[in-house]
């Protein structure tokens, strides 16, 4: 227990010191890692605990980003308004769309979410009076906390990660609660869960709404960081990137989501130093992780720990 506490303290010290020691571009990537962690958490909840593949997270991410952009730039409202409007619209949409489509299962449900993502992407494009279309909306102000402007990645880093940790705590509580048990029973045997009077559809819809909320929060954070939003950031490709986060990191593990987010933000950046071949190499790395580590990076870590544990206990005796 003491060693676990020590680990946590050490991790927190490293987390707090990191932005002061790394160059600005790395701090910037760490901000993106935090943002992607929040968006990936929602996908992880759906994938790991409900067995639902969601390919529409970029929709909610976009709704959050456009709400923040529109409220601050066009309407001149305070930043918090954008966060709230984005969250409310995203949750309402997730509820309205989730109720009918979450009756589907497996590939059909994945395709339905893909369709939702494609429709939203087309609407972001077409409704240029609202979204600015290809040209987007620029000049989104940096977040201001009681006069302290978060105008540098090293400052914004703390804000984003505090939001990310809060979302992780929410996800952790949800998974550990009675609802989490119901979710897993539904994932492993929906018939058995239904026979125990678990309302499958209501439960799935609730998690879908939480996923949308996380997506919207991440989108609003992104808008204030980049100061600019355009349709290019909210395509189906982005939804696939978000889906990769739990797939790579490990869908049932919350630290796995952070590992997955680090993978999708840092690896392309590192590989880009190798020239135009970097996208092919990233694809190969993805295939490598999925084939060699089917339960993700955290799954592999868990297996490694289990393999080492008997040896350790052997030494103890």
């Amino acid at each position: 227990m003491t060693s676990r506490l020590l680990w946590i303290v050490a991790a927190l010290v490293i987390w707090a010191a990191l932005p002061f020691f790394v160059p600005r571009n790395i701090a910037d990537l760490l901000v993106f890692t935090g943002i992607y962690t929040i968006a990936g958490l929602g996908i992880g909840l759906l994938l790991g605990h409900c067995g639902i593949v969601n390919l529409a997270q970029a929709t909610f991410y976009g709704l959050g980003a456009y709400s923040s952009a529109y409220c601050t730039v066009m309407l001149g409202l305070p930043s918090i308004a954008g966060f709230v409007v984005g969250a409310v619209i995203s949750m309402a949409l997730a509820y309205l769309i989730g109720r009918p489509i979450l009756r589907l299962t497996g590939y059909f449900l994945a395709l339905a979410t893909l369709a939702l993502g494609a429709i939203a992407s087309a609407l972001f494009f077409e409704w240029d009076w609202l979204t600015g279309g290809t040209l987007g909306i620029g000049g989104i102000p940096k977040l201001d906390l009681f006069g302290f402007v978060l105008d540098r990645p090293s400052r914004y880093y703390f804000f984003v990660w505090i939001v990310a940790f809060t979302c992780m705590a929410v996800a952790h509580n949800l998974v550990g609660s009675r609802t989490g048990l119901m979710l897993r029973s539904m994932r492993d045997s929906s018939t058995a869960a239904a026979s125990l009077s678990v309302d499958l559809q209501a439960l799935r819809t609730q998690v879908f709404v939480v996923c949308a909320l996380f997506g919207s929060l991440a989108g609003s954070l992104f808008a204030h960081h980049a100061s600019f939003v355009s349709t290019q950031s909210f395509t189906v490709d982005r939804s696939i990137s978000f889906l990769l986060i739990p797939v790579i990191g490990g869908a049932t593990s919350i630290p796995g989501i952070v590992a997955g987010a680090l993978f999708v933000t840092f690896l392309p950046e590192l590989l880009s130093k190798l020239g135009d071949i970097h996208q092919i190499l990233f694809g190969l790395a993805l295939v490598g992780v999925v084939v060699l580590l089917p339960d993700g990076l955290m799954g592999a870590y868990g297996r490694l720990q289990r393999r080492l544990a008997p040896r350790r206990s052997g030494h103890d005796h």
Partner: protein, 381 residues
């Protein structure tokens, strides 16, 4: 002497030999001292690669040319080119790396509007001069007086198309445009049409990357226009216009002018007029030196985006020479504002749109059998 020492010596000798061959012929000015670092972001992969790759070629050629002519007041220029994979988020990370990590004095690019606006947020806040390979975008860019553009604003592209329609006395126009670049030009074209006495009899939109636009082309044909405008970054509408046998004159916006698209048009790359800037087969006198050097280096004919990047590198080199390499961002921005006669066009970066390209800089080329010929038509202002 050990075997490894011999190998090292042989390596050095080979490098010296190679570098001697790599130098272009003719007398070269010497550069010395610490290189002046300029960052560049292009879309070398992803959807914008058709723009980013030619731009990278133009930049690297300009770097070689500037250094061969003595660099910037004797110091060599080093252009660090990064790929944003056509993604504005990546462009932002790359800009942070170049400005704060690699300490570049100025930034060239990116290739796409979204990335340009995203990166502009960083360069504007930190007063780093930026020369984008895009036309001016959303309203916020007008406040960014350190951000110059080497391609025309979309309003000018729309005007260039309408000027040609006026020239051939076409009053009924059908338009085929994509939902991205085409949409933006179209938004500028609509209010201008009345001014030019032109009626838009059919306006058909298609998705970016659409593989078939036959339905839209058929609708345009049915409206019986005098001429058809195609505003897109794609070869598909050109092929479909031929398939539905539209015989009226076709006028295309600059977005489809690169050879990548022309080659994909196949036999449809015929009898199309394009208002653009650089006709590699028949360059204007002030473009000839650049076109010859490009052909000699890459064994290919340059078009507009290669020239835009070449211009951007020379413009920043001139500004650095004027203000001094250690002058700081604000002074460099000041040095940037003013007229510049480039290969692509005559710019004036003190203009409101930070471009200042006049309509008279456009040349009108005709694609015949996949090759460009320059037509005598020009707009006089």
């Amino acid at each position: 002497m050990s075997l490894s020492s011999i190998a090292k010596l042989a390596g050095v000798a080979a490098l010296v030999g190679l570098s001697a061959f790599a130098r272009p012929s003719g007398a070269l000015a010497q550069t010395s001292g610490e290189p002046i670092k300029v960052g560049a972001i292009v879309s070398a992969t992803g959807a914008g690669a058709g723009l980013g790759i030619p731009e990278r070629n133009g930049l690297l050629l300009a770097e070689k040319d500037i250094n061969a002519k003595g660099g910037i007041k004797g110091r060599p220029i080093k252009i660090i080119v990064e790929d944003d994979a056509s993604n504005p988020d990546t462009a932002l990370s790359k800009a942070n790396d170049l400005i704060f990590g690699q300490k570049v004095v100025a930034l060239l690019g990116p290739s796409l509007t979204a990335s340009t606006v995203a990166v502009g947020g960083v360069t504007h806040a930190n007063k780093i001069p930026q020369i984008a390979f895009t036309g001016i975008g959303p309203a916020v860019e007008r406040e960014r007086k350190c951000l110059a553009h080497v391609l025309p604003p979309q309003r000018l592209n729309a005007q260039a198309l309408l000027e040609y329609a006026k020239n051939i006395k076409a009053t009924k126009i059908g338009v085929l445009h994509d939902a991205g670049y085409g949409n933006v030009v179209m938004a500028e074209l609509r209010p201008l049409a009345d001014k030019y006495g032109v009626k838009l009899v059919a306006v058909e939109k298609f998705e970016i990357g659409a593989t078939d636009t036959t339905t839209q082309a058929a609708k345009v044909k049915a409206a019986q226009p005098d001429a058809v405008f195609i505003i897109a970054t794609s070869a598909t509408p050109f092929r479909n216009v031929k398939q539905v046998q539209i015989t009226q004159p076709v006028v295309a916006a600059i977005g489809s002018s690169s050879y990548e698209y022309v080659n994909a048009m196949g036999s449809a790359a015929d009898n199309i007029t394009i208002p653009e800037f650089v006709v590699g087969e028949d360059p204007l006198p002030h473009q000839k030196a650049f076109v010859d050097l490009y052909k000699q280096t890459y064994n290919a004919t340059p078009k507009n985006y290669e020239a835009a990047a070449w211009d951007a590198a020379h413009i920043i080199a001139q500004a650095i020479a004027k203000a001094g390499p250690d002058a700081g961002g604000e002074k460099l921005c000041e040095a940037l504002r003013g007229p510049y006669s480039g290969v692509l066009a005559n710019y004036d970066f003190s203009a409101d749109d930070m471009t200042g390209i006049p309509l008279s800089s456009f040349v009108y080329s005709k694609l015949v059998g996949g090759k460009y010929t320059r037509t005598p038509f020009r707009v006089t202002q």
